[in-house]
């Protein structure tokens, strides 16, 4: 990144300040417009402004081309669907060359679509016939069974009847049947029947309606088809029943046929004759196998076609997407009255000027255009977009800041500091080097397999974790570090750097928990002495240490925030903010909490037993009283008096001068005549942006605003400092939780000396460690670190009311679509 030429004295500040941007105007001859935009899209460093916002999409110049692209995209979607349905996957190949011509592709796509549609239609027709025949075969088989069984039962009945006839007449002899048998054949009604298939879920309603429609004068027989049958009309697998309806009379027939139609029951011709049935079956089977070969041949043909489409698919898709975006961009340009050139306006980073000009030049050459495109910088008062050049490491941290608000153009970016402070504050709450190593292993897995994972689609949560892998990496490294300081490994202390400085008073060690230990060696070199763990004073000692440390960290970070506000006011040349905001804020915070921090450090260094609560409280309540035994250094009383006075002075200092000075400045500015705009161009740009030009100046509003700011800062200084105590609270919670799991689960299970209990104990311990400590605690510590950054740190200086630079870039378009 160093090769970029920059004007001015300052060293490059890639992340601290967003890229300097300017509004550029491009005047592009119409014949080279398409290629120009395409080159700019490759470059991806310019954000076009929509100059036709008032026009509806179809009134714009290139609406037709967009429609064409939409149509092609539709065809491609159709192909993709067909390809996926057929079980192929579109060949994924590197899509580098885009030398295809849109018109050729359009024609080609049209042809292919027509061909595919025709093949599909033919295939469908064949398939339909095939399905119909298959159904027919089923009907013949099943309905044949009805007739067969009916025949045999009729024969049996007849035999019975015959035997009854021969024997004496029993009571059970049906009277009717006799009558029936004796009826004159000429009077016999010819029973009609029809057979077919009906979807199973409709079969009951079907039966009911049939019954109602004919007043019960039908005989319906159904048989379940075991396997789902492919419905000829819809082509879906449906569970069906074979039915045969017997009826009498023409009217009933009409009704029944209509009902069959209404229920989507497919009827098939059927003959009673068994011999004919057998013949039909063979005939149908023959035709079925014939059709099968035809369909297979068709499928092979279709498969080949789809294969060829699949090979080209990605290229076409890429081309169409790019073309569509190019025409969308062209639609945002305003067309010149002469219709010979297009005028584009857009934001681009200053460093990209050369590249853009290059691209314009190349486009002109490649198009053999007579006229070069014109590139010029416009002057505007509009706020440019914010553009940070991030890499894969810094982007996640920048995301954390952007989630709160995108930085105002060129204001100090907290993202720079977040890279270090965020994982550090997290680790203060998550200090355990055992857990840290677990996190490290997890995130290392992501980082090592980065290439593979970034190309595939992950789940929602996985995606988030993967996106933040470098944040987690730093978080885990820092928590290993703080873990060493706290001397905790899954809550177990280790004598890692040397032996503990303390030892028992005598050999029996009986007084270790009552009277205490004596110091035998040098102070433990790094972190907390392991001897503290398990002693009676473990908690009071650790609490006091962590609490004071939280205050120190908090005051340091808040000071950093205020100093950044100084950088901002210096950068924007706003001396009022420096003198009447930055300085009194510094004084106020440091005279109270800075002083407290100093006291903490003095107390640590001297080992004094002074009560810091007492000192701080009586500093306000009775500043003139003698301090007595809480004296930490000579002259403390005077120092406190001076600091208190400074704090009291700094409040009106913050509140009063700034609004009045602003008013003065405003009056002076408007008292004079404004100089005439010297060129036509600036007049134009002025009139464009006159709404942003001079803001309304309302003194009362400014004053109330300043009042709120002051009150917020003064109260915030107290509440924010207290808020940093969450570092202590969460770290305490973390270490206590892990102690509980270690002692009450693992050690308890170990004590039983039973393999099963030990195994169960270990499993519970692992689950609790992963579930509660590694996942939930990480999340809560993450959220608290986030809050400390967003609220306590950023409210000291960060405006966050900018908007992101969103360049027109093919890379982004491809990424989005996927």
């Amino acid at each position: 990144m160093g090769e970029r030429g920059r004007e001015g004295c300052c060293p490059p500040m890639d992340l601290m300040r967003s890229e300097p941007m300017h509004l550029v105007q491009l005047i592009i001859p119409i014949e080279s417009a398409h290629r120009t935009i395409s080159y700019l899209g490759d470059l991806g460093l310019i954000q076009f402004k929509d100059l036709n916002a008032e026009k509806s999409p179809f009134q714009r110049t290139y609406a037709n081309q967009i429609k064409r692209c939409g149509e092609m995209a539709r065809k491609l979607r159709f192909f993709r669907e067909q390809i996926l349905k057929a079980g192929f996957s579109p060949a994924v190949r590197s899509v580098t060359e885009a030398d295809l011509n849109l018109d050729d592709v359009e024609v080609k796509l049209g042809d292919l679509e027509a061909e595919l549609v025709e093949i599909n239609a033919n295939g469908e027709k064949l398939q339909r016939t095939y399905n119909e025949l298959a159904e027919y075969k089923l009907v013949i088989q099943k309905a044949g069974e009805f007739f067969h069984s009916a025949l045999s039962s009729a024969e049996a009945q007849q035999r019975e009847f015959a035997s009854n006839q021969s024997g004496e007449e029993s009571l059970e002899t049906p009277l009717l049947s006799e009558q029936e048998m004796t009826t004159d054949p000429s009077k016999q009604v010819k029973l009609g029947f029809t057979a077919g298939l009906v979807p199973r879920e409709k079969s009951i309603a079907f039966e009911r309606i049939l019954f109602r429609a004919t007043r019960g004068n039908v005989f319906l027989k159904q048989a379940v088809v075991d396997n789902p049958v492919t419905d000829p009309v819809s082509g879906e697998k449906v569970e069906k029943n074979v039915f045969a309806v017997f009826f009498s009379g023409e009217r009933a027939k009409n009704k029944i046929l209509k009902i069959c139609d209404a229920f989507g029951a497919n009827r098939y011709p059927f003959s009673e004759d068994l011999g004919k049935q057998a013949q039909m079956i063979t005939e149908v089977s023959g035709r079925l196998s014939e059709l099968k070969t035809t369909i297979d041949a068709g499928l092979v043909h279709r498969g080949n076609l789809l294969q060829t489409i699949g090979e080209q698919f990605e290229r076409w898709n890429f081309l169409v997407r790019r073309e569509k975006s190019i025409y969308h961009t062209l639609n945002m340009l305003s067309i010149d009255v002469t219709k010979k050139c297009l005028v584009a306006e857009g934001w681009s980073p200053v460093f990209a000027t050369k590249q853009i000009q290059d691209a314009l030049h190349r486009a002109t050459q490649d198009c053999n255009s007579q006229v070069d495109a014109i590139f010029q910088v416009l002057h505007t008062r509009e706020m440019p977009p914010t553009y940070f050049q991030t890499n894969k490491f810094t982007s996640a941290f920048q995301e954390i800041v952007d989630a709160y608000g995108v930085a105002k153009y060129q204001e100090a970016n907290p993202g720079v500091y977040t890279i270090v402070t965020f994982p550090f504050l997290f680790a203060v709450m998550f200090g355990d080097w055992g857990h840290g190593i677990c996190l490290l292993l997890g995130t290392l897995y992501f980082i090592i397999r980065e290439k593979k994972l970034s190309s595939q689609k992950l789940g929602d949560i996985m995606e988030m974790t993967f996106g933040g892998r470098y944040v987690i990496l730093l978080m885990s490294l820092f928590s290993i570090y703080t873990g060493f300081i706290y001397n905790e490994f899954f809550s177990v202390p280790f004598e890692f750097f040397s032996r503990s400085a303390y030892s028992c008073r005598d050999l029996s060690c009986s007084e270790a928990t009552t009277v205490g230990l004596i110091k035998a060696r040098d102070t433990y070199p790094f972190g907390v002495d392991p001897a503290w763990y398990g002693s009676r004073s473990e908690l009071p000692f650790l609490n006091s240490m962590k609490m004071k440390m939280s205050i120190l960290l908090g005051v340091a970070q808040m000071n950093l925030g205020i100093i950044l506000s100084y950088f901002n006011s210096k950068f924007f040349g706003n001396s009022i903010n420096t003198w009447f905001q930055f300085i009194p804020q510094m004084i106020f915070l440091n005279s109270l909490f800075g002083y407290l921090s100093v006291l903490v450090i003095i107390k640590w260094c001297t080992g004094s037993k002074a009560d810091l609560y007492h000192v701080m409280i009586y500093m306000f309540l009775s500043p003139t009283d003698e301090i007595g035994e809480n004296q930490l250094f000579p002259g403390q009383k005077t120092t406190q008096l001076v600091l208190l006075l400074l704090a009291f002075v700094s409040v009106p200092w913050m509140l009063l001068p700034k609004p009045f000075l602003l008013k003065l400045q405003h009056d002076r500015h408007h008292g004079q005549y404004a100089p005439l705009p010297d060129s036509e161009e600036s007049l134009q740009s002025e009139s464009n942006q006159d709404s942003h030009g001079h803001e309304e100046f309302e003194f009362s509003e400014i004053f109330v605003h300043q009042l709120i700011h002051t009150i917020e800062f003064v109260l915030g200084a107290v509440s924010n400092t207290a808020s940093y105590l969450r570092l202590w609270a969460l770290s305490l919670a973390h270490s206590e939780l892990s102690t509980v799991f270690y002692e009450k689960v693992l050690l308890l299970a170990w004590g039983y000396n039973n393999v099963i209990i030990i195994i169960v104990g270990i499993i519970i311990f692992i689950c609790a460690t992963v579930g509660v400590l590694l996942v939930m605690e990480t999340l809560s510590a993450f959220l608290h670190a986030l809050r400390l950054h967003w609220v306590e740190f950023q409210n000291k200086f960060y405006e966050g009311d900018g908007y992101k630079f969103y360049p027109y870039s093919f890379a982004l378009i491809d990424y989005e679509e996927e």
């Binding site: 539709r74 429609a213 209509k258 009902i259 139609d261 229920f263």
Partner: protein, 351 residues
């Protein structure tokens, strides 16, 4: 009048109310209509709609488009939304949602019966039916020869069965009969829906009774105007009026004896809410009455969204969407037939 809906409504209805309000914010706005009215071809309309919620439903339609495809796809979206809401709904909201579709069911029954009478193909008729009013055995309607059969064969299984009690006759079906049947069914349906809403109580009852009363009154006026000059007797006409609404009962008495449009007008102008509708029309004119009624209805439906914790929003949303689809159909037809000058004749802006 008001119960404590605010306390308990959200337990069952909160999610769906949020959903329906979300859907409502997807309705086309006046700006959309202005743009749509400027379209030159149906492709332009598709392009504009692709930026709205209709986008996913239209994007895979091959050119050339037809008006029917646009309307079909837009209706499909409404049906999908309705089905989704019905799936999520618990009692009594699910019953309420089902009530909304009965009107379409009646229309479909009438459509099929009339179609069969004129010997049209059943499949063709089925395609024309509104998908919200479909029921299982709807195609069987073609079998029926008279009212009795119609009822006995098919409708006894549908929710419309109770409404049929008044119009079972053995007469053969003819156009007049069918029209009377439609109105009788509609009357019974509206009355039943009205009773159901009253039973629900609270804000639902209040808002729905207003909306349904308007619907009933509109139907009463339409029946009167359509029956002028036909052989329908005054008593028969009176029987078709629903027994609630602003016009009930005295307005109905007067409407029943009206013999021309100006008499209807005189009756209606006695009712302040309808005065404004009729004041827009010149004397003797009934063409624009439909539009005026639609406009008034849309206004009332939009107002239903102003209050929370009631089921009226579901009814209002479905009706507004239907109106929107009618608008789209009209615009598309005008565009397709190059009648752009008439495009504003029947479009009712919703917002």
């Amino acid at each position: 009048m008001y119960g404590f809906e605010a306390m308990t409504f959200n337990i069952h209805g909160g999610y769906l109310e949020a959903i329906v309000r979300g859907h409502r914010s997807g309705l086309l706005t006046a700006a959309d209509y202005n743009n749509l009215c400027q379209c030159e071809t149906l492709e332009d309309i598709k392009m504009h709609l692709s930026a709205t919620e209709y986008g996913p439903y239209l994007q895979n339609e091959p050119s050339p488009l037809h008006t029917t495809t646009i309307v079909e796809k837009c209706t499909l979206k409404l049906v999908d939304e309705y089905k989704q809401m019905l799936c999520q709904a618990t009692e009594p909201l699910s019953t309420f949602l089902e009530y909304i579709t009965y009107g379409h069911m009646i229309d479909n029954v009438v459509l099929i019966v009339t179609g069969t009478l004129h010997e049209r193909d059943v499949q063709e008729l089925l395609e024309k039916c509104h998908p919200l009013g479909m029921f299982d055995s709807i195609a069987t309607l073609a079998v029926a020869q008279n009212m009795k059969e119609l009822y006995r064969l098919v409708l006894v299984d549908t929710p419309l069965a109770p409404y049929f009690s008044e119009c079972i006759t053995s007469e053969d079906l003819d156009d007049m009969n069918i029209e009377i049947m439609r109105n009788t069914l509609y009357k019974a349906y509206l009355e039943d829906f009205y009773r159901f809403c009253q039973k629900l109580g609270g804000a639902t009852a209040e808002i729905m009774s207003d909306l349904l009363a308007f619907e009933a009154d509109r139907r009463a006026v339409n029946i009167t105007i359509n029956s002028i000059g036909t052989e329908l007797t005054r008593d028969d006409r009176r029987k078709l009026y629903s027994s609630f609404g602003l016009l009930y009962p005295y307005g109905h008495e007067e409407l029943a004896v009206s013999e021309d449009i100006d008499q209807v007008r005189a009756v209606m102008e006695k009712y302040p809410p309808y005065q404004s509708i009729f004041s827009k029309l010149s004397y003797g004119e009934s063409q624009l009455l439909d539009k005026a009624f639609y406009e008034e209805e849309v206004k009332r439906l939009c107002l239903a969204f102003e209050q929370q914790f009631h089921y009226g929003v579901f009814f209002a949303y479905m009706r507004l969407r239907e109106q929107e689809i009618r608008n789209l159909m009209w615009i598309s037809e005008c565009v397709a037939q190059n009648q752009k000058s008439r495009v504003h004749d029947s479009v009712v802006f919703i917002f």
